[in-house]
Symmetry: C2
Subunit: 213 residues, 2 copies
């Protein structure tokens, strides 16, 4: 959980929770579109379950904000425009791309947010880890994607390409969660080992789908 360096760049807790809460709400919206676009009733059923899990995560972060006596909507507000823009550019052109986008984004961002949360006190870190470390949503989506690729092997190269297009935007969003001065260089040495590790885990997740990262 404690990746090199990242927890040294942990922002204030309300900012972290506001961003994490809105990101999960945005995943919920993204997945809801995939519910509507699902090719079969069985797939619709699975993706709706995953959408419900994203919503539950959102609600957990909202509950944490309330526990701190904060207004969840106000804390989410600064992240609405950047995260909506992020989802708009990464929503995919069809059902399989939409699922892959969730798979790639939640993979990298869950890892990144877990790592950042290592900078809070132990109890808080623990509560956040409990929300983000369950990989069932991603496993359910991976099964849908594997089945889709099995039905149509030509999908693999298109999804691999789309996955590569996503990574840059996802890493930028992960970076925006850090407490970094604005003039920090993109290759700041504190960031490099972390990025390397996030990308290595991403590559492993793409491998699990039989896709080249």
């Amino acid at each position: 959980m404690n990746r090199v360096g990242l927890h040294e760049l942990t922002p204030e807790l309300p900012r972290f929770l506001g961003q994490a809460a809105y990101l999960q709400l945005s995943f919920f919206e993204h997945l809801s579109r995939a519910v509507t676009a699902a090719p079969t009733t069985a797939s619709k059923e699975v993706v709706s379950r995953v959408a419900g899990m994203a919503l539950a995560r959102h609600q957990s972060f909202v509950a944490e904000l309330k526990r701190l006596g904060l207004d969840p909507s106000a804390e989410m507000e600064p992240f609405v425009i950047p995260i909506d823009a992020f989802q708009l550019t990464t929503q995919g052109s069809d059902w399989s791309e939409t699922l892959l986008a969730y798979y790639v984004e939640s993979g990298i961002l869950d890892d990144g947010f877990l790592s950042i949360a290592g900078g809070f006190d132990d109890e808080e870190t623990e509560r956040i880890a409990k929300v983000l470390s369950d990989d069932e949503p991603r496993r359910l989506i991976a099964a849908e994607l594997s089945a889709a690729i099995g039905d149509n092997p030509r999908l693999a190269s298109r999804l691999a390409l789309y996955g590569r297009r996503l990574v840059g935007d996802v890493l930028l969003l992960a970076r925006s969660a850090l407490d970094l001065p604005e003039n920090t260089a993109p290759d700041d040495e504190r960031l490099e080992p972390v990025l390397t590790e996030l990308i290595a885990d991403h590559t492993r997740r793409m491998d699990e789908l039989g896709l080249t990262a």
Copy 2:
């Protein structure tokens, strides 16, 4: 709960559960669109909570189907086309109409389905009533609608008009949940008292929003 006559027209349990499950999934999709269209982050937050409640209802009916050893997707399948078509014609042209559609539809259909469920054995009736009788989702939506009407009183007449346009389609859907021979007359005397009661309750709910039914 036991409205005149309706429980005499109760269909087989799997058919009821399949339709009820798909209807809630469809409400979930409908509400998810309203999450994306919400005018403020606070509204987004509330509507997402209601979407989660529709999803939980869907999951309860799916669990009932599984308990009977049935495949939920297969049982929902016959209802996909009619319910998708229903949602398409009743999705509303903006956020407030989308919310009103959920308010009107879930009001009439929850009542109708509760009444139909009176024809099952007591335990089953009880389990179904537990899922459908909580009116918190509708109360949350009513509060959003009241606030929107308060901000823009001219909205009231448009929404009242839209509500009147919805009722016919909603009653047709309620009717399709009954075990009726195809050649049953629209004014079959067993249906009339039930329709009268469903419409009276609908009128009361519109009144609560200050809208003329």
